[in-house]
Symmetry: C2
Subunit: 123 residues, 2 copies
């Protein structure tokens, strides 16, 4: 998994990391049961602090995306116990509104959404 960070973004690093992992799971680049890098390894590899990575892992764990074991590290959760948050819906509505105001046609927006979804099908 290739991780990229935008240090000038207003989105915190731990959130950027969390988001990339969520997308990676949805895209099948990380599969249920698969082990994630250890906090220390990911921190060193990415050049960001261990606690920052830990924050992302705690968030993913709390959301049900991963499970952690004090000994075996973190693994991708198997079930679909993830519930849709209120923020997810709000953000989706916002982004579709932005696309609409940019002049995109309805069909084009829906095609875009479909494409983004399909990227999770073992591309």
């Amino acid at each position: 998994m290739i991780l990229t960070f935008d240090f000038s973004s207003h989105v915190p690093l731990y959130m950027q990391l969390r988001n990339q992992i969520v997308i990676a799971i949805a895209q099948g680049k990380l599969n249920p049961g698969e082990k994630l890098p250890t906090i220390r390894a990911l921190a060193e590899e990415s050049g960001i602090n261990m606690m920052t990575v830990s924050k992302a892992y705690q968030m993913l764990k709390q959301e049900g995306y991963i499970v952690t074991d004090r000994r075996h590290g973190a693994t991708v959760a198997s079930g679909k116990s993830v519930s849709v948050s209120e923020e997810t819906m709000k953000e989706l509505k916002l982004r579709i509104s932005e696309l609409r105001l940019s002049g995109m046609k309805k069909e084009d927006i829906l095609s875009l959404c479909e494409t983004l979804y399909d990227q999770g099908d073992n591309v």
Copy 2:
């Protein structure tokens, strides 16, 4: 236009205000050429600081959603000079990924997106 703010959210107030105005424009609740409340009026009405409202207006102006006149206040921009930002695309991908991981079917997700889009058609 009814404005609501979540003071416990990690999303800044000025961003919450900006988002609500963008959605209102997309939904046709604010039409091109229509006047927005003055900064002072909106601040007092919402109970948030004038400068916080000003930040939201400056952001909307910079993005091309509104135009401001030192005398006549702020009005909704007419043209579709708004361009899609990189963040918009990233967020859209993220939220669709989250919906997918929640177990929602592709058709349901696309239906949801369509519904959110259609809410801009003079509901």
